[in-house]
Amino acid sequence: MAYLEITEATKSFGAFVALQGVNVSVERGEFFTLLGPSGCGKTTLLRAIAGFNDLTSGEITVDGVDLRRVPPHRRDIGMVFQDYAVFPHLSVFNNVAFGLKPRKIPPTEIKTRVAAALAAVHLEKLADRLPAAMSGGQQQRIGLARAMVINPRLLLMDEPLSNLDAKLRIELREEIRDIQKQVGIATIYVTHDQEEALAISDRICVMSAGHIEQIGTPQEIYGNPRTRFVAEFVGTLNLLTPGAATDALVSGLGVASAEQWAIRPERLALSEPGDSGVAGTVTRYTYLGREAHVYVDTPIGNLAVQIANPGVTAASAVGDTVSLRVDPAALMAFATNGARIGTGR
């Protein structure tokens, strides 16, 4: 049995079903991410684990203990909130020490543990300040230290970085990752940002409309999506236009009943017109510095091609004729119900 085990979790709000029979298991020390668009049920699941909303039915156990029988404040679960939830009337030190007091920890130990937690999030110099005037990044660091310092059985994070600016988001997610690995607390992380999920997780659970689409490592989720929803939600996806040209392209792959063929932009390449491949015309060229996106109109669709290291001179201009090289192994086929049937990698 896994450390955290969620079985057939179901939650309905009146007629709306937010979770329909979700099964998840998380190992000790694992960084597990719930990824999905808003309304997919990821926050509902997280809040059910924390105890803020009870499930309609289902079971949640940690280390064999049935959590649903434990009131929220006895669950020993650390939580980091989207809006930081830092207590504005307490100093940084007292915010972090807040959870240690009901645990009857002697004052000297509180001091050392809070100091260590603050050092881990680089806030040791601000211990005596009030958090009100601090930046979002600093406030979330307080939130993180406060949740960790109680050595909880489980750490829950509800979109902790979504209110921060892009650069800080990347910086802080690396720190969260490092700290979590150091202390080894099993962590459930909720986000709608696929790049964040890929960067930070041991395993990702992609959710949609109250059910699980796929659970896997970041590599599996991105490189081997099991459903069209996962393939489209994580990364970008070119959908091929059905027709004679597409049929010709995929005829040798041995997948007969595909509803939709697709390919990732970075698995396409451009070459000189006349080379082998699909002929097309450039309709747009977007330069992004470390990469460029070239949109090419071809018989198999208007496809985005991602070019790494585009260099200092524009590689192509609107109206150029080019040849599109398609690696057949990179093609993905999806059935009518959205399930993946092709095996391209």
Binding site: A50, G51, F52, P71, P72, H73, R74, R75, D76, I77, G78, M79, F81, Q82, D83, A85, F87, P88, H89, F98, G99, P102, R103, G143, R146, A147, I150, L156
Partner: protein
């Protein structure tokens, strides 16, 4: 869990019981009393009399004229002031704000009397003008009441509208400018609609306060009768006192207030704009005659509004011989209060303090109930608490007499009845501010405390309570200002031993002893000022909270 549920159920029941005894009961008694004749028979005769008697029809009309006149005057002064202060750089703007606060917390109707001292039949200013050959009419009558009302009530409009004007995104006006609108068109087509909810809310408040005001028309009216004065006259007439006529007038007065509250709610419901505040408005520096004009306007309005306060403080230090002022300054008026009227000051302080303690205690608990236990029950409760908003003080007074004069609970002539009437009138404000403050605290704060090992009740005590306490103390202080200045309900409810400062001032003014009245007003003003200062210390300088 079941225990907590029980706790809140008990609180809900107690709240309804409180409302039943202190609000529905008295209002019901008023209604009932108006429907019975002198022999205890059920009759609509009182209403027939009201609507057929020329005298009542006239006072009904007068009330509306006064309400709308005050509304127009206060809007004109208040909006001009708000616009100038929020859009132009005005030197000494903090001083001007202070003057408007002075006007706001000044004891009731002392304003009217100060104007009489200056512009009345024997007024100082009129006499001065007459000596240089200018004859101006005395301030009595409708015109005088309206001038006093406009200057007394403009701070409500000023504070509410300037708050709203400060929240209009500047980009909107810049966009209008870019589209080719002239400055005047921008104000009329963009700024005015954006602050309309604030304007209509403040207009309503002025209307309701103006038709409830009893002292000003009584002193300045010289025969200009309104419903509030008629109700008091019907109640208090030594000979031929007609209590059921008093309650009939009260019911009409409540209905008029209700109609306007409903109207205002209907108007502002469709006009609430939520803008972002990325681009806050800035104040521009006017040049030349425009700058001069803006300064003259705001200083004249603010100084005239605060004039009664200045006059009464000045006269409180004047030397007197009996009720007659002499040349020079002395502390005689204060000595008289100290030696003869100390019990009145003590009454006011104890009544207000007890009322405020009750208001804070009950108001906070009920506020939590309203904010946290949302259900049909609590939204009904929220609505029930609107009732005291529209109840003029004189009506509350008459209602309490009607309810507690006979029957199960007899309170007339006690201090309790005055304290309870103040408590009931101010309770809704505290309930509302507590509920608003609680709704502004992110639920994640308490959840964070729960996740850290505190039970929900401990989380509430350790996190939520400390966060709302400054607001509660500030609200309590502002309730104290209202409580200690309360005149009209106390005037109906007092007996010799329970006389309060505003009642004493009213009687002193009627007796013509302006020196003592001025001194007592100054003491009242000082007490109010201290309370406002403490409130501002706890919540930051926020004039809006005074409304």
């Amino acid at each position: 869990m079941t225990l907590r549920l029980n706790f809140w159920t008990i609180i809900t029941i107690l709240t309804w019981a409180l409302l039943a005894v202190l609000l529905f009961g008295p209002v019901g008694s008023v209604l009932l009393s108006s429907l019975y004749g002198s022999k205890g028979e059920f009759t609509l005769a009182n209403y027939v009399t009201f609507f057929s008697d020329w005298r009542f029809a006239q006072s009904f009309l007068n009330t509306l004229v006064l309400g709308f006149g005050a509304l127009v005057g206060a809007l004109l002064l208040g909006f001009t002031m708000a616009f100038c202060m929020s859009r132009f750089r005005i030197a000494g703007s903090r001083f001007l704000s202070l003057l408007s606060i002075l006007a706001l917390v000044s004891p009731p109707f002392i304003g009217a009397y100060s104007w009489i001292v200056l512009f009345g039949a024997g007024g100082v200013v009129r006499a001065g003008l007459r000596s240089i050959g200018i004859n101006m009419p005395p301030i009595y009558g409708l015109g005088g009441i309206l001038i006093v009302f406009a200057l007394k009530f403009y701070p409500f409009v000023y504070l509410m509208v300037s708050g709203a004007l400060g929240n209009v995104n500047r980009s909107l006006e810049e966009a209008a400018e870019g589209l080719g609108l002239t400055p005047l068109q921008r104000v009329v087509k963009i700024s005015l609609p954006m602050v309309f909810p604030a304007i209509s809310a403040s207009a309503l408040l002025v209307f309701v306060l103006a038709i409830a005001d009893f002292g000003t028309p009584r002193l300045l009216g010289r025969g200009y009768s309104v419903l509030a004065t008629e109700a008091f006259a019907a109640y208090s007439a030594e000979i031929g006192s007609n209590f059921s006529m008093g309650t009939t007038i009260s019911v009409v007065l409540i209905l008029v207030s209700l109609v306007f509250v409903a109207l205002q709610r209907y108007m502002s419901r469709r006009n609430v704009y939520h803008g972002n505040l990325i681009n806050k408005p800035t104040r521009i520096q006017l040049k030349g005659w425009r700058n001069f004009l803006a300064h003259v306007v705001v200083y004249v309005v603010a100084l005239c509004g605060a004039l009664p306060v200045i006059v009464s403080v000045y006269y409180s230090f004047r030397k007197t011989n009996g009720p007659v002022f002499q040349d020079g300054f002395a502390l005689q008026s204060y000595q008289r209060i100290l030696f003869n009227l100390a019990d009145v000051v003590r009454n006011s302080l104890t009544f207000s303090a007890i009322a405020v303690l009750l208001i804070v205690l009950v108001g906070t608990i009920v506020g939590v109930l309203v904010a946290r236990r949302t259900s049909l029950n609590t939204s009904l409760l929220d609505a029930a608490f609107m009732i005291p908003y529209v109840m003029p003080g004189i009506v509350i007074g008459i209602a309490y007499i009607a309810a507690f004069n006979t029957g199960a609970i007899v309170l007339t002539g006690t201090a309790s009845i005055i304290i309870l009437s103040i408590f009931m009138r101010r309770l809704p404000y505290t309930v509302r501010t507590t509920a608003t403050a609680l709704r502004q605290i992110a639920p994640s704060l308490e959840e964070a405390a729960v996740s850290l090992g505190y039970s929900p009740f401990q989380s509430f005590l350790k996190i939520t309570i400390p966060l709302i306490v400054p607001g509660i103390i500030a609200g309590g202080m502002l309730s104290f200002v209202t409580a200690i200045n309360e005149l009209s309900s106390s005037l109906v409810l007092y007996v010799g031993s329970t006389m309060t400062m505003p009642v004493r001032i009213y009687l002193l003014v009627l007796d013509g002893d302006f020196g003592t009245a001025a001194a007592m007003s100054s003491i009242l003003l000082l007490l109010s000022g201290i309370a406002v200062y403490i409130a501002f210390r706890f919540m930051g300088r926020d004039e809006q909270a005074l409304l």
